[in-house]
Each structure stands twice: as structure tokens, then as C-alpha cells.
């Protein structure tokens, strides 16, 4: 009996090892896919509201891989290891994706990017948050506004904050009516 249990336990360990190797391989493949996506994007021209090969692929990767994709993107965006204009474009589309499963992790990523050293990245993050239209971002936006050194960007962030506060008030008044 003890022997049998020991065997089962070593089987489980082997399975865990196999699973983690498979996960690592998948993660490495996804990382490569994202690396390539950013490399190709440098040749593209971006226009507000217009899809690009980059935005289409980015949206598709996030919808397919969910949290795993955002976890790879996060350090790239936060430490600004890529072209700021491409990251800014990515953040706009990350805010636009209609994908409930990744909503909170996308919101978290956008909120973090409000504090990037790059004004382009901060702008992209604010626009992404405006698209998500979620009052959860209010506190981060308030902090970012206080820290923002570019007057114009600060004013644009204030507009997004007003929009989100308006939503929060709308939610509150609906709750009051329900009560």
C-alpha cells in the first residue's frame, strides 16, 4: 500500500514536471510571437481609430492567450524596452478589446503605465482607460494627474477622470434608485 502510494506520488511529480515543461515551452513561444509582433510594428504607420496589422495581431494574441499574454507585455511596457509609439498604440487597443476574461488585468496594466517615464506611453494608457470606461481606474488617474509634468497631458487625463467619475455617479444613482 505504502509502495503503491509512493509510486503514485512520484507519478504526480513526473506529471508536474512534464506540465511545467510544456507551460515553459508555450510561454517561450508566446514570448517569441510578441517579440516578432513588436519588431514588425516598427514599419507601420498608426492612425487613431484605424486598425493596423499590429493591432489586429495584438488583439488576437490577447484574446487567445489571455492573462499569459498580458504578463509578458507588462514588463516590456513598464520598463519601456520597446519603441514608445508602438507601446502607446498597443495600450490604446488593450483598452478597446471587448474581452471580459482579461478586463481586470488589462485595467491594471493600463493603470501602471500611467506612471511610465515616457509621455507617449502615459498618453496611450490614459486613452486606453478612457476606452475601458471603468471607474476602478479613478484612483490611479488621480495620482497620475498629480504627478504629470506635461500640462496638456494632465488636462487630457482630467477629461478621462471626469468621464469615469461621471460613470461612477451614474452607477451610484442607479444603486440609490434600486435601494
Amino acid at each position: 500500500m505504502v509502495k503503491k502510494n509512493l509510486k503514485r506520488s512520484s507519478d504526480i511529480k513526473d506529471m508536474d514536471l512534464v506540465n511545467s515543461t510544456v507551460q515553459e515551452k508555450k510561454g517561450a513561444r508566446l514570448y517569441d510571437e510578441i517579440e516578432k509582433l513588436f519588431a514588425f510594428a516598427s514599419a507601420e504607420e498608426f492612425e487613431d481609430g484605424m486598425e493596423s496589422e499590429f493591432s489586429k495581431k495584438l488583439v488576437s494574441i490577447i484574446k487567445k492567450h489571455g492573462k499569459a499574454a498580458i504578463e509578458i507585455l507588462e514588463p516590456v511596457f513598464i520598463h519601456e524596452k520597446k519603441n514608445a509609439e508602438i507601446i502607446s498604440e498597443a495600450l490604446r487597443w488593450i483598452g478597446r478589446i471587448e474581452h471580459r476574461r482579461t478586463h481586470s488585468i488589462r485595467l491594471q496594466l493600463l493603470a501602471q503605465c500611467l506612471f511610465s517615464p515616457s509621455p507617449q506611453i502615459r498618453d496611450g494608457a490614459a486613452l486606453g482607460l478612457a476606452s475601458m470606461n471603468d471607474p476602478e481606474a479613478i484612483y490611479s488617474l488621480q495620482l497620475a494627474i498629480r504627478k504629470e509634468s506635461y500640462v496638456e497631458l494632465r488636462e487630457d487625463m482630467k477629461q478621462v477622470l471626469l468621464q469615469l467619475e461621471g460613470n461612477e455617479n451614474a452607477v451610484d444613482s442607479t444603486k440609490n434608485q434600486e435601494n
Binding site: 486598425e51 478612457a130 477629461q159
Partner: protein, 163 residues
């Protein structure tokens, strides 16, 4: 005198601390990139009565609802820089606006573009309309029949909850 509008990306027109005085980011010139030495612009009435209409018309043509960043400046800047202007049909979702208010700046040289960019930055205005507001302009244009819902992308229809 009427005003001239050009869709841009506002962030390219900011003045970062490293930028010398009276200069502009090189990236801003990307918003004035020409084809056949021509640049597409929109004419805005001096009372800006057609501004929201043109913003709705341009954004309605996009794949996805988004903010609208633009530069707007007095048409006299074109005269001062000897920049020629001629009427041409625009490509927006509002047919009437395309005929009435779209123009091309033509025979543009590199120096003229740089000078225009400088004057737009110093004498014009760089503005942003947030996505939600743009959505409101589009809905208003649909309600009064200036735009039709078939001209909107699926993403915009979904975002504005238009069936």
C-alpha cells in the same frame, strides 16, 4: 476668415524639455506627410459651426471608435506661407461634408511643410476630443440623417449600441 483642420496625434506636438525653443518634435511632421506633394485638410467655418460634424464624419469612417486629435489654424497662415489650396472631394462618412469642406494643399515643398508645422504650433491650436464625446457627435449625426448606420464599422456600432 475660415479655419483649417488636420487630423493629427496630439502627443507628437507636445514640447518635451529636451526640445530647443521655437522648435517642434520631428515626429510632428509625420502628421503632415504628403502624397504627390499634397496634403488633405478640412475647412472649418470661423464660428466652428461645422466642426463637430466633420469630426463625426471622419471618426465614423474609422475601424473603431476613438479619440479625435486635431490641429486647427487660421487659413491666413496658408496665405502667409504662399501655400495653395484647392477644393477636392474628401473621404469621410458624410457625403455632403466631403463636397463642401474638403481641400488639398498642393505644390508643397519640404520647407513649406516645416514652416507650416511651426506656425500651426505657435499660432494654431492642438486639441483632443475624447472618445465618448466623439461617440455623441456620431449619434447626433445619425439621428439627423447626416450619417447612415451602414457606413459605420461593426466595432463602432457595437460600442455605440446601435443595432
Amino acid at each position: 476668415m475660415p479655419l483649417i483642420l488636420r487630423k493629427i496625434r496630439k502627443i507628437r506636438w507636445y514640447l518635451p524639455p529636451w526640445l530647443p525653443e521655437h522648435d517642434l518634435q520631428a515626429d510632428a511632421l509625420g502628421d503632415l506627410s504628403t502624397k504627390d506633394n499634397e496634403l488633405s485638410v478640412w475647412q472649418i467655418n470661423d464660428d466652428k459651426a461645422n466642426l463637430e460634424r466633420i469630426i463625426a464624419a471622419l471618426d465614423a469612417k474609422c475601424d473603431s471608435l476613438s479619440n479625435f486629435d486635431y490641429a486647427i489654424f487660421d487659413q491666413k497662415i496658408l496665405d502667409e506661407n504662399n501655400i495653395k489650396l484647392r477644393r477636392s472631394d474628401g473621404i469621410s462618412a458624410d457625403e455632403e461634408a466631403n463636397h463642401l469642406w474638403h481641400f488639398d494643399l498642393y505644390e508643397l515643398s519640404a520647407l513649406k511643410i516645416v514652416k507650416l508645422a511651426r506656425d500651426v504650433l505657435t499660432e494654431g491650436e492642438i486639441k483632443r476630443i475624447q472618445e465618448k464625446e466623439v461617440g455623441r457627435f456620431i449619434l447626433e449625426a445619425l439621428n439627423i440623417g447626416r450619417l447612415n448606420r451602414e457606413s459605420l464599422s461593426i466595432h463602432i456600432r457595437s460600442k455605440l449600441r446601435i443595432s
